[in-house]
Amino acid sequence: MSRLSVHHWRNQRLTALVLIPLTLWFVISMFVHMGDSRAQIAAWLSRPVEGLLMAALVLAVLYHMALGVRVVIEDYVADDGRRARAVTAVNVAGFALAIIALAALAAIGFGG
């Protein structure tokens, strides 16, 4: 196995570990805030701890997702070109989603 694959394998597990407590926090938060108004959501995510937890969750999820979907693509897409393009597309999508989420959290945090 290449060193990159080993690196990916380890980071997949590290993000998984981090995501165990973050997921529990997220599920509980979602049920608590289901049906909240925009102002209530903004007030919730403007609090430093909650804003940082959400940022950490989104980043860990997106990285975990990119690594996981990559493995699925590698297993089932036989064609070299298509496989490489699919992996790139997932990485680009994950990166774009991370930027959108962080920008949104920053806007909520600083915008009030």
Binding site: L19, M34, A78, L97, A103
Partner: protein, 131 residues
């Protein structure tokens, strides 16, 4: 074709169905489903940051029957992926490899994720006064 530099999973068509393989495939399927859920989470955050109109649109989707169905599916997928992920992490440190334990933990994941999903929705709906 250039081989990928790691062992690949067996071909689904020629592999005999059994609890272990079904749970493994379900782990992947729920992972892919949760990826789409993540897109909706980011949409929700962006809408909350953007405007009242954008937020109302997102909120409208979540409250619709389709939105609630998606939420229910994603919560079930999340609980399954979480519990089975812990099972995978245990294997990674060499725990629970005996065949009997593998099946026992597998059934625990199935029953545990169903229970967690039901309890979460009953408690959640109860907190909102809908149940």
């Amino acid at each position: 074709m250039t081989p990928v530099e790691r062992p690949l999973s067996p071909h689904l068509q020629i592999y005999k169905w059994q609890l272990t393989s079904v749970l493994s495939i379900t782990h992947r399927a729920t992972g892919v489903a949760l990826s789409f859920g993540t897109v909706f989470l980011v949409w929700f955050l962006a809408a909350a940051a953007w405007s009242d109109g954008a937020f109302a649109l997102a909120q409208g989707f979540w409250s619709s029957w389709l939105g609630q169905l998606c939420l229910f599916g994603w919560s079930a997928a999340l609980f399954y992926h979480l519990l089975n992920g812990i099972r995978h992490l245990a294997w990674d440190i060499g725990l629970g490899f005996e065949l009997k334990t593998v099946y026992r933990s597998g059934w625990a994941v199935v029953i545990g994720s169903l229970l967690l999903t039901l309890v979460a929705w009953i408690v959640g709906l109860h907190l909102r006064g809908q149940l």
